[in-house]
Symmetry: C2
Subunit: 440 residues, 2 copies
C-alpha cells in the first residue's frame, strides 16, 4: 500500500528549525504531508546560528583549519536538527528516523568543504519509507566515496541534498521551505510592488540565482533541471501558494520579462597596459580560476595606442576581490591594477526575451531616462545584466520593474489571489555558509 503512495521531499532551512517552536512547526508540516498519505523525506539545515558558532570554534583553535576536520565539525549542525525534529515528530504520534548524509547514501567526491554529489545510494531511505517511517536527512553533507570521510557540499548544500534525494527517489516534487514566501518579480525590500511569481522556468531561475536572487541556490536549480525535479519554494512561517520552478514546457506561457534581479556585492578590477598578445587572457583567467575566484563579466578594450597595449576589466564577487588582486599582482602582466568596490549589477530575466530582440534596447533606454550610467553589459538569450554605480541599484531596479510592468495584473502568471501587498521579508535563512536568502 505504502509502496504506491507519492513521495515528497521537503527541505527546511536554518531559520525554519532555529528554535524549538520552529522545530515543532517544521515537524507539523512534515506530519501534515504524511497525513495526506504521502511518503515524506525531509532534509534539514543546521539551526539558526549553529554553523557560525562552529566556524567560530574552529577559528579560535586554528587560523587555517584543516578542510577535512572542518567538514567533520560542521556536519554536526544538521545532525542536531534532524535528531531534534525526529523527537518532535515522534511526540506527534508518527514514526521518524534521522539519517546522516552518509547513512542516507549521499556519496560525494573528496573535495572537502565544497564536495560534489556523485551518487545517491538511497537504499536505507527506501527501506525506512517501506517501514512507514518519516525520514529526516542531514543536509549539506555526504561521505567521500574514496576515503569514507565526512564531506560538506558548500554553498547551497542542503538545497542540493534535497533535490538529489528527490531525483534518486523519483519524488513528485522537492519542496524548499524558507523564510520568504517564494520567488518575487524583484526584491520586495527594494520594490514595493514586487509580486510573488506563481511559476518560473528552470532556465529563468538559474539566471536569477546567478544574477543576485538568493531564494534558491544555483547548484540545486541546476541539479533539478538536469533531473526534471519540480521545485516548490514556500514559506515555513505562513500558508501560501509559493513558487513552482518547472521545465519550460510546464510553465505554459513565457512572458517577455519575468523578474528584475540585482546584486550589490560586486567589485570591478581593471588591469591597464596589458600586452595584446594571444594567450594573455588565458593566463590571467586561468590563474584566477585556480584560486577559486569566480569572474562574472569581462571587457577588454581594443588597443588604441601604438604599443599594442589594452585595458582589461572584469567583475568578481566582493569577497573575492583581495584574492583576485593578489593573483594579478603575482602575474605581473599589466601596468596597474585598479579596483572599484562601489559597483552594483541590475539584471532582467525572462524566457520570452529570446524572441523579442527589442528588450535590451528598452533596458538601456529606461536606465538612460533615469540618468543611470551603464558601465558594463553582459547578456544571455534570456538575461540582460548591466553593471552600474552601487548607489543607483535601488532606482534602477524600481525603474525597470515599472517599465516592464512586472507589478501589473497584465502579467498572467501572477498569483490569482491578487496578493500585492509589499512585504519586508526577513533577510537570512542561515544555517550553513552562504545559506542566507532574500527574495528575488
Amino acid at each position: 500500500m505504502q509502496a504506491e503512495s507519492e513521495i515528497v521531499v521537503m527541505k527546511f532551512g536554518g531559520t525554519s528549525v532555529a528554535g524549538s517552536d520552529d522545530i515543532r512547526r517544521a515537524a507539523g508540516r512534515i506530519v501534515g504531508a504524511r497525513r495526506e498519505g504521502k511518503r515524506v523525506v525531509a532534509v534539514l539545515s543546521a539551526r539558526g546560528q549553529t554553523t557560525d558558532e562552529l566556524l567560530g570554534m574552529a577559528y579560535e583553535v586554528s587560523d587555517r583549519p584543516l578542510a577535512r576536520e572542518m567538514d567533520m565539525l560542521l556536519s554536526t549542525g544538521e545532525r542536531i536538527s534532524c535528531a531534534l525534529c525526529a523527537m518532535a515528530i515522534h511526540d506527534m504520534g508518527h514514526n521518524a528516523i534521522s539519517l546522516t548524509g552518509s547513512q542516507a547514501g549521499i556519496v560525494t567526491d573528496s573535495s572537502h568543504t565544497k564536495a560534489r554529489i556523485l551518487d545517491v545510494r538511497a537504499k536505507r531511505i527506501r527501506e525506512a519509507l517501506t517501514d512507514d517511517r518519516i525520514v529526516l536527512v542531514a543536509g549539506f553533507q555526504g561521505v567521500s566515496g574514496d576515503s569514507r570521510d565526512v564531506t560538506t557540499l558548500g554553498r547551497g548544500g542542503s538545497d542540493t541534498t534535497a533535490v538529489a534525494i528527490a531525483a534518486a527517489l523519483g519524488a513528485e516534487v522537492c519542496e524548499i521551505y524558507t523564510d520568504v514566501r517564494g520567488v518575487f518579480s524583484a526584491d520586495p525590500r527594494l520594490v514595493a510592488e514586487a509580486r510573488l511569481l506563481k511559476m518560473v522556468s528552470f532556465e529563468e531561475m538559474l539566471e536569477m540565482a546567478a544574477s543576485g536572487a538568493k531564494v534558491l541556490q544555483l547548484r540545486a536549480v541546476e541539479y533539478a533541471r538536469n533531473n526534471g525535479i519540480p521545485i516548490h519554494c514556500r514559506s515555513s512561517f505562513e500558508e501560501g501558494p509559493g513558487t513552482f520552478v518547472l521545465s519550460e514546457e510546464e510553465t505554459m506561457e513565457r512572458p517577455l520579462v519575468t523578474a528584475v534581479t540585482h546584486s550589490e556585492q560586486e567589485a570591478r578590477v581593471t588591469l591597464t597596459g596589458v600586452r595584446d598578445e594571444p594567450g594573455i587572457a588565458g593566463r590571467i583567467f586561468g590563474a584566477l580560476a585556480e584560486s577559486n575566484v569566480n569572474v562574472d563579466m569581462i571587457i577588454q578594450n581594443e588597443p588604441i595606442s601604438e604599443d599594442h597595449k589594452a585595458d582589461l576589466s572584469f567583475t568578481v564577487g566582493r569577497e573575492d576581490l583581495p584574492t583576485a588582486t593578489e593573483v594579478l599582482a603575482g602575474l605581473d602582466l599589466g601596468e596597474r591594477i585598479l579596483t572599484d568596490e562601489r559597483i552594483g549589477k541590475v539584471s532582467i530575466v525572462g524566457a520570452g526575451m529570446r524572441s523579442h530582440p527589442g528588450v535590451a534596447a528598452k533596458v538601456f533606454q529606461v536606465l538612460g531616462d533615469n540618468r543611470i550610467n551603464i558601465e558594463m553589459i553582459s547578456t544571455s538569450p534570456i538575461k540582460i545584466s548591466c553593471v552600474i554605480d552601487a548607489a543607483d541599484v535601488p532606482g534602477a531596479v524600481n525603474a525597470l520593474h515599472q517599465a516592464f510592468e512586472l507589478g501589473e495584473d497584465a502579467v498572467r502568471r501572477e498569483d490569482p489571489t491578487g496578493d500585492h501587498r509589499p512585504i519586508i521579508e526577513p533577510g537570512g535563512d542561515g544555517g550553513e555558509p552562504g545559506d542566507e536568502r532574500d527574495a528575488a
Copy 2:
C-alpha cells in the same frame, strides 16, 4: 619502522577540552607523546557543558526524547572535540585524523543511550597509524552492529572507549587525563591528609569506583581488568606521577587498607510487613531490576511476630528513589513503604584485607569510638561498607583514614616525592552524562 613503535591511548575528559586553550593543551600532550616516538590514539569527550546543552535542546523539544535520536544528538559533542583537536595538532606540524565512533570501528549492541561494546574493528585506526597519523576518536559512541545506527555508551562511556581501543590495538597503556591528579587514599576535599596513590589493583579500583570514587568509571576498569590493560590516571593540567591501575601481581605489595571511599548519594527504602514466603524477595528485586534500579545493600530481618511478616530494607542511588518506591507500590507486597534520604555510606578498600580478618572489627570500633551509628553493613573480600547517617560521613571518613594510617609514610606504595599537601580538586570533568569525577 612505525609498525614497531609502542602504541599509547590517551583519553581526555570534558574539562580537559573545554576551551580552545584546553584543546591546545591536550593537543600539546598528544604531540609530546608522538615526539617521544610513540604511536598515539586519543579519545576525547565532549567539551565542557556541550552534552548538557544538547540534552537541554532535546528536552525543550520533547518531554520523552526518543533514545535513538538522543544518541544521534549527543554523539555530535565528541565529534566537535575531535575535529577541533585535529586542527590544533595540524597547526603543531603533525598529521592527525579524527574518527567518529563508527569510523573507529566501535561496534555495540542496539541499547540506545546505554550501549555495550561488542567489538572493536580497528582496521581504520591501524591504517591511519601506519600512515604516521595521530588518530583522534570520538569517545562515548559507537555504531550498532544490527541497525547501523549511532549509539552512545552511557555513564563512563569515553573511558570505556579508550580502554577498549587500547585492548584492540594491544597498547602498552591507556592514559586517562582528567581534572584530578590521580586516585587518592580518600577524597581530598574531605580529608586534608589524603594522599595520591601510586598504584592500585584493578580489584581495589573496582571496589572504590563501586563505593563512591568517581575518578575512574567502573565499566572502564572492568574492561581494563578483563583485558589486562594498565590504566594510568593523570591530570591534564599539571605534571605529576598520577596513579597506575594494574593487575594485582604488578602492584607488588598489598597493604591492608588502600583507601577510604564514601558516597552521600544514597537512599534507603524499607518495606514493612512483608510475608515470609519463598519467592517474595525475587519478585521485589526482579521488578526493581526491570526498572533499571540498582540495588546496593539488602537487609531482611527474621520475622519475630506470629503472622510471619518481616521488614525488608535496601539502599539505592538517590536518583533511583522515586522509581523504586513507584515499583514497590505497584507490587503491593507489604504494609508500608518507608524511605530515608539522609543516609550515606563509608567504605574501606584494600587487597590485603583478605588475609586479615580483624579489619571489620576495627572499622566498627573506630566508628563506635566516634559515636557514629552503623545502620547497615556489607562486605566483600577486599571491602567493608557501612551505611551511616549522611551527616556523619565527613567525620567517619577522616576517622577511618587516620585509624588505618593511610596518610602516613608507613604505607610504602606512597609517592616517593612525598607530596603530601592537601589539595582541593575541581569537582567535575563533565562532557557526558555521569562523567563528573572527584578524587577517591
